[in-house]
Symmetry: D2
Subunit: 316 residues, 4 copies
């Protein structure tokens, strides 16, 4: 299948929709991003690539980082993770605290904020033994370890954290601080609240472009093994299970709708990006900053719907 003309067609058709959504405005660094931007990139398991629009423009990956930290935490403590976080859709907004109260501090899944903070806490408590400045070493930094992992999967050491975004998140992160303190009160955070939050805010502030993001997610489309380098990132069953969680939980309280319309595992971020996996076929990244009412990229979702329709890539 020749992907380039398909992407070009989507790029043309998407233009009138770029002004529909609303840019995230809870921090200045995100609020000033120009809305009418769009980029898309695909990498197939066979190494074919295609891209369109602003596919090389950096954006804040935000919650998409949760997919990478989930992968890392599963690598560190395996299925023990599921004692501390569930894997059910939440049926509520991304930052809701209600179910956390009903369910005694155990977040519903690792792709909502509360769950991702627990995942970060797991990473902090289980530092990699192989990293240069590993456990017990003064230079160790979980933020660096997460960044290293993303660089590794993207095969791009230039990927960096936007420090301004990270600091801005921290300065306005009262809701996340509330979630973290709430879980801490139930004993479901091992590290000091501030430390877990610091790492969480930094992972959200990783800046990537569509090209890098699609490349970084490719291992999830290929049974956990990077199909280009041949390097194994996670086992095949684990990769499939991460995809399952992305499908049921990756778009907060619009996950069912995304499955219905696009039919592919995906994870959105409030920066306007979406990472989407076509098992055994390809990884896709799309970006457009205008968000719909559920906090997911409006044009990005639409573009993926068009792509799924034209390629027949729905997993259903």
């Amino acid at each position: 299948m020749d992907l380039q003309p398909i992407l070009d067609g989507i790029s043309a058709k998407i233009r009138p929709h770029l002004s529909d959504g609303r840019v995230a405005d809870y921090i200045p660094a995100l609020a000033r991003v120009e809305r009418e931007q769009f980029g898309m990139a695909i990498v197939t398991c066979e190494g074919q690539t295609a891209q369109t629009g602003a596919a090389e423009t950096l954006f804040s990956i935000q919650s998409i980082s949760k997919v990478f930290t989930l992968t890392m935490a599963l690598g560190k403590i395996g299925n023990n993770l599921w004692h501390r976080v569930g894997r059910e859709p939440s049926g509520s907004a991304f930052n809701s605290i209600m179910q956390l109260e009903t369910e005694h501090g155990i977040p519903r899944n690792p792709l909502i904020n509360a769950g991702a903070i627990v995942v970060t806490d797991v990473i902090l408590s289980n530092r990699s033994l192989i990293s240069e400045n590993g456990i017990g070493e003064p230079g160790y930094d979980a933020v660096q370890e997460i960044l290293d992992f993303v660089r590794l999967t993207a095969h791009d050491p230039s990927i960096a954290i936007d420090r301004e975004v990270a600091e801005s998140e921290a300065a306005h992160g009262f809701r996340n601080a509330s979630l973290a303190n709430f879980m801490k009160s139930f004993g479901n955070l091992e590290n000091p609240v501030e430390r877990s939050l610091r790492v969480y805010f930094h992972q959200c502030a990783i800046a990537m472009n569509c090209e890098q993001l699609a490349r970084a997610g490719l291992f999830l489309a290929a049974d956990g093994r990077d199909p280009i380098s041949g390097k194994k990132v996670v086992s095949a069953p684990r990769a499939r299970r991460i995809n399952a969680i992305m499908l049921t939980c990756g778009h907060y309280d619009a996950s069912g709708d995304f499955a219905f319309k696009v039919g592919l595992p995906g994870k959105s971020g409030v920066g306007g990006g979406i990472l989407c996996i076509v098992p055994d076929v390809a990884a896709i990244a799309v970006w457009s900053p205008g968000l719909n009412k559920n906090g997911n990229s409006h044009a990005g979702t639409l573009a993926l719907e068009m792509l799924a329709k034209e390629t027949g890539w729905s997993i259903f």
Copy 2:
């Protein structure tokens, strides 16, 4: 792939687990079903069949009927259905009423009880024009229309309703009566509560065996067209979307877990049955009456997990 030895192997391995769950006991007709039973049947899109254990023993399909009525209602009013019922996972138990209050009488999805009652109400209000005793005819009966549809997809006119179960459901159906009255108070039921409930209780009391059930669901594995007779039941995109809803919502508040472990669209019933779809490949029905704490068949889920592992049929 030779499916028979796989099913035989599963049948042997599942035996020690048949006494683990708990048979539904809210009505006498279900409570007296013997727990340690197990049956499984597969029909592939190419017409291959395999079965094991009590695959020809009739059981009450209960909530699995929701898949068939959803298909019918979409055929009658198309996407207008989504004005009256959502398509998001509920994040709560199958008969929960909380979200119905928060969301003003609109059920979260068509596969929880409240949503299925709305679907039934839609069928009642949109009687088929082509049925013999159709709209306005004295002999018209929505129950009969649903039964006819199931018989048609299963290619088996012998399928019947267990009247004792239907009456028993009605006599003990206070929770469903509560849900129906609640939605009626928000104007989300068009027919009298009693009429919608009567049809709902009867559709749940359809008795089928694994062989019939797998055959009946086969159109969902084949883009909406019965691959054996070649007859179209629904359009391809609609079939895929029904599968998407089964995956995100088909196991109540254990849907995420089922997606995680089995990785296939499925719908469970409190009678112990599960219908599972492998897109483009096959339809599977499994039955074992012992339920886990989420109200899904314990051994049935386990058997599907084994099957998915051995066949690699996960959609992820």
Copy 3:
């Protein structure tokens, strides 16, 4: 204290506020009541009476009936009532079903709809032995027993039920039917749902005027004994406890506000009436059909606030 000039003053001051609220419109029989009406009556423990405005106009007492049925049920089964209904404020609307789910079918208190339906169910299951057509007698009717009790406390055998209102309530009572079925599913209704609801809808449809209502409530101001006839209705501690429940729960989710502003035990009805108790001093009834956003009489609440201020009758 000369109450007549105080009432006359309130009557004059209240006039501009009579058009502020909104008449209950969920049933035609209530919707057509003219909004700009106002009546008020006081009976003191010493037998002094005062009234103003339309104090002799009949209105539907609606939820105020819950005070009388609570008194009756406590007389029948005493503190055993508290195994089936709580006595805590609900923190939510009068017809909310959420807490009923969280608290397994036990309503928060006897003055919200769910709680009052349980109270009615208790009356039905514990028919008075002394009534003429008592337990087991073909002519027995719980509706008649409730009406008799109200007539007795009001010393007025002319009080009657507005059958049109009762039938209209039944025809539109889906929310109450939902609550009743929900509790039945938890085993917290002994009688058939329809029977309990029938009695409930009829008790709400009792028509009284302010004069009758104040007289009927007087025993609650006088330690449970009618201070005029000298007849004991309930024990002194029980009367005080009923007052306590009226204070904490009598105005649904505006009970705190009513205690804050008026400072007296009271129970409102959606027909625009409020019964208010001044312990050891007097009983007050006020009526004005326009309701505020919490479903309580707008002008009635205001009038009671004025009265409490001028008389210094706050219990605090």
Copy 4:
């Protein structure tokens, strides 16, 4: 009425119940308090005093401090306070966060933790102009201002804060930090979260004995004016309204039960103390560290129930 023999009688009858409750154990400084202690003190508006048991033993007043800070905040900004906190019972536990989400960061009332943190924030933002080191002064300290106010109403300058308790609260105050951050995210805290929490933790750590506490609350029994010194603390209507809030909200989700059984405005603290007001008659303080399941003093509640029964002091 001779109160001393009544108190002595209660003291004797309460003994067998002192081992029933459970001492608060969320911080070490509270957990090590010996459970089987009991003290009680009454001060009447006429200056009569009576006390029994450990009425001079200091304990941590904890949430009882909320009554004093509420009085202060109303003195500073009057009814504007009600834009930032409600006055309805919560229908849930003292530290619940659910309603805060539903109601957009506005706590239900000033006597639950979230509401009291807002009250503290109001005090911080509206420093007294008349205090020696008032607004803008380097020595100003809201903690000191609160302590000064309590000392003033108790007529006892020796009252102090238990710094160990305050620090321990801060070190374990994750749930309160969650509540505060949550409200901050809705803009309902003006000061930095840490600053408001610091003051809140210190006010809770004020140590008093029953004698001091009853004396400190006496102005609430006497229309807002200290009946002994004759000094006005708040206006009469405001004092009555504070009492109303204590009655409807003072015992968290057992407020209805306390009103039912004791029939007096009261505020409990997790340290085992309860301050109780008999309007126009007296103020009562009771202390016993064993808590019931709602977090209120078990023996303290029982003692007040006995006292109310013997004195007939119920306001109902």
